[in-house]
């Protein structure tokens, strides 16, 4: 039993570490890789939880994660990168060091918030919840500190990873959640794809500074 939990924690911890290291990455390719590994670990965690809780739909979740998040999406992202041979190094809106410090602070906040909750007789412990929450927050932080659209999408995706991490921990949670997460990611990517092309039509690059220019012209 204890092995189950400790392993679950371990994987959660790894996911958090990867989420954290997304912050410190400047290059798109590296970000994609990190995200991919994160997704792999996530699927593994899903499988493990399924095994632990004897839940079929958790296996399914793991499968979806593996196929779509860990394999399909990164390929697509790499394609985009290659297609618009864009500047490899993404300029950040905030010094990396500062953003990492903030990231640490966020983890602290997550712990602080989750601490008072009493999760009696639930397979998912506070720590896991705290980890999931901090992964989500870190993803958001990535979105807010990167100027590049693709980087923002990656941050978004890692947020979704955090969600899934939380979801797989939920005891006997009906299938709705995972299904819709998968759906969301799929659709999200689809829409994003559409956007990337459109935006390319209009601005030749994925860098949103073009949009920012438009917005500066107050209406």
């Amino acid at each position: 039993m204890s092995l189950t939990f400790s392993l679950a924690h371990l994987m959660g911890g790894i996911i958090l570490v990867f989420g954290f290291s997304l912050l410190s990455q400047r290059r798109l390719a590296a970000m994609i890789t990190i995200y991919q590994i994160q997704a792999f670990v996530l699927s593994a965690a899903a499988f493990w939880q399924g095994y632990a809780q004897h839940e079929v739909n958790l296996y399914l979740t793991g499968l979806i994660t593996l196929v779509i998040k860990a394999i399909a999406l990164p390929i697509g992202l790499r394609m985009i990168v290659a297609k618009f041979n864009m500047i490899r190094a993404v300029e950040t809106a905030m010094p990396v060091l500062l953003s990492t410090i903030i990231g640490v602070g966020l983890i602290g906040v997550a712990v602080l918030v989750v601490l008072p909750s009493t999760l009696s007789a639930v397979s998912l412990t506070r720590e896991d919840l705290a980890i999931a929450l901090s992964v989500v927050l870190l993803g958001l932080l990535v979105m807010t500190t990167r100027r590049n659209a693709l980087a923002q999408i990656i941050g978004f995706l890692s947020t979704e990873n955090g969600l899934v991490l939380a979801a797989i921990g939920m005891p006997g949670m009906p299938f709705v959640a995972e299904f819709s997460v998968a759906l969301l990611v799929l659709l999200a990517f689809l829409v994003v794809g559409v956007f990337l092309f459109r935006i390319r039509e209009h601005f030749d690059t994925l860098d949103l500074t073009g949009i920012e220019e438009i917005e500066r012209r107050g209406r």
Binding site: L119, L133, L163, M173, P174, A177, S180, R198
Partner: protein
């Protein structure tokens, strides 16, 4: 009955998206919306039960959604007649499909008795609306849609997290399984839930659905989506979608409140809602004065009113909740009326394409067409919440409750309402009675302007001579969710 009302549009959407000329699409759109409207009214007779059933709240707002959906469809029919040449066939198809999807998922969001289902519905609506907004395919429209997608996506994510946490918080009371996700069960057993976890969940949900309700600071997408999206779509963005989000917030808020009052470890939800509500009110109040584009202007007014509703929910108590719900109801009617007549106004001045809604472009409308101008003026006046506008009643109730329950908040509330009303009326003057731009010729009013008048009349009647049935329903709801 209800299931049909939900599934029909969702099923019809692909067909609309794939086949037919714009004209046929528009007609089908009207027809479907009409059927849906009838079904939502019929739902009063057969509210159904189980996973998807209409409680009192769902009934009332489902009816309103159906009604606005129908009038919107009619409006977009006339919109098509004028704007058809601008856009390719494919986009019209997408547009009509998306209208149906938005309608269907909105109804799903209202009728779903399952927090997961609610979430899925909101997500569907978001994506559909994103596509809808991007439809004009202008640079600024794409930009608006992109904003909508990014911000909305984040909101969706947070909402999902919150939903899961609610489920988790319900474990001690309800244990695993579907029951821990059904509103009825959760509302019943709110006292037994894990308070602190529930509070965390509520904050996340507030941010998630608050994004849809465009509460400041989560409002970033709204003004642009209003100004750049296709004109009729904004109607369904403004009313029904915001309502779904606010109602979701209201339901979860009540769980928190119940847990708090029954001695649970939850924090009172009031402060969170009051903060966001006042922030929305004041940001709107100050943003009004520099607007040059009418639709963006009214986008901010939507922010204002959803802020007022959130504020009312934050005040709490049956009466305040009643006021808040009434406010949402009336605002939906008036705002959709306003946006539709705005399309007519722009049509009178030549084009309904985004960017043709500048005040300088529309001003002195009375010289173009008296009827349209007066209806527009009436709708704008209705937004200010001065009598005889219906909103006067709801704001009146809310202010009263504020004074009784938390007097300190009544001062900023009053100030905000004052500023907003003045700002709106300040623009009303020139827009309706001002000097028209050169070479303005009088034009004929189009028949669907009567629909707008109907909206406004309905809002006034509902406010001042409210049918007892409606009062009963709303006050039951308020009593249940106080």
């Amino acid at each position: 009955m209800i299931l049909i009302a939900i599934i029909l549009p969702l099923l019809a959407a692909p067909f609309l998206g794939l086949i037919g000329s714009p004209r046929q699409g528009a007609i089908a759109n009207v027809a479907l919306s009409g059927i849906v409207f009838i079904l939502t009214i019929a739902a009063f007779a057969a509210p159904g039960s189980g996973l998807v059933h209409a409680d009192d709240l769902g009934l009332v707002f489902g009816g309103v959604t159906g009604f606005t959906g129908l009038t919107t469809a009619v409006a977009s029919f006339f919109y098509l007649r004028e704007a058809e040449p601008r856009l390719s066939l494919r986009r019209w198809r997408v547009y009509h499909a998306m209208c149906q999807v938005v309608l269907g998922s909105t109804l799903l969001g209202l009728y779903a008795d399952n927090i997961g289902l609610l979430w899925a519905a909101v997500e569907g609506a978001t994506i559909a609306a994103t596509l809808g907004v991007s439809m004009p395919r202008t640079a600024s429209a794409l930009e608006a849609a992109w904003k909508y997608f990014i911000l909305g996506g984040v909101g969706i994510g947070l909402a999902l997290f919150g939903t899961m946490l609610v489920y988790l918080a319900a474990q001690p009371a309800l244990g695993p399984g579907f029951s821990a996700m059904s509103f009825t069960a959760l509302t019943a057993h709110a006292a037994g839930m894990d308070g602190s976890l529930l509070t965390l969940a509520f904050v996340l949900i507030l941010f998630g659905y608050g994004t849809k309700a465009a509460l400041v600071p989560l409002h970033g997408w709204l003004p642009d989506a209003y100004a750049e999206g296709p004109a009729p779509l904004t109607t369904s963005l403004s009313g029904p979608l915001i309502n779904v989000a606010l109602i979701a917030i209201l339901r979860f808020r009540h769980m928190l409140e119940a847990n708090f009052t029954s001695g649970g470890t939850a924090l009172p939800p009031g402060p969170f809602l009051l903060t966001l509500g006042l922030a929305s009110l004041f940001l709107a109040a100050f943003s009004f004065s520099r607007r040059r584009d009418a639709r963006r202007f009214f986008g901010f007014s939507s922010i204002e009113h959803s802020g007022i509703a959130a504020f009312a929910f934050g005040i709490g108590g049956a009466a305040a909740v009643f006021g808040g719900l009434l406010h949402m109801l009336l605002h939906t009617l008036i705002k959709s009326a306003l946006l539709q007549v705005l399309i007519r106004a722009a049509a009178l001045r030549g084009s309904t394409a985004p960017g043709h809604y500048g005040f300088s472009h529309l001003r002195g409308l009375i010289h173009s067409n008296k009827y349209t101008a007066l209806v527009l003026g009436a709708a704008m006046f209705g937004l200010t919440g001065l009598p005889p506008s219906g909103l006067f009643v709801s704001e009146f109730i809310i202010v009263m409750q504020t004074i009784q329950r938390s007097p300190w908040a009544s001062l900023p509330l009053g100030l905000g309402l004052l500023l907003c009303a003045v700002a709106i009326l300040r623009n009303l003057g020139p827009l309706v009675f001002g000097h028209a731009p050169p070479r303005t010729k009088p034009a004929k009013a189009t028949p669907e302007t009567h629909l707008v008048t109907l909206h406004l009349a309905l809002s006034v009647v509902l406010a001042f001579a409210m049918p007892p049935m409606l009062v009963g329903l709303l006050s039951q709801v308020a009593e249940a969710l106080k």
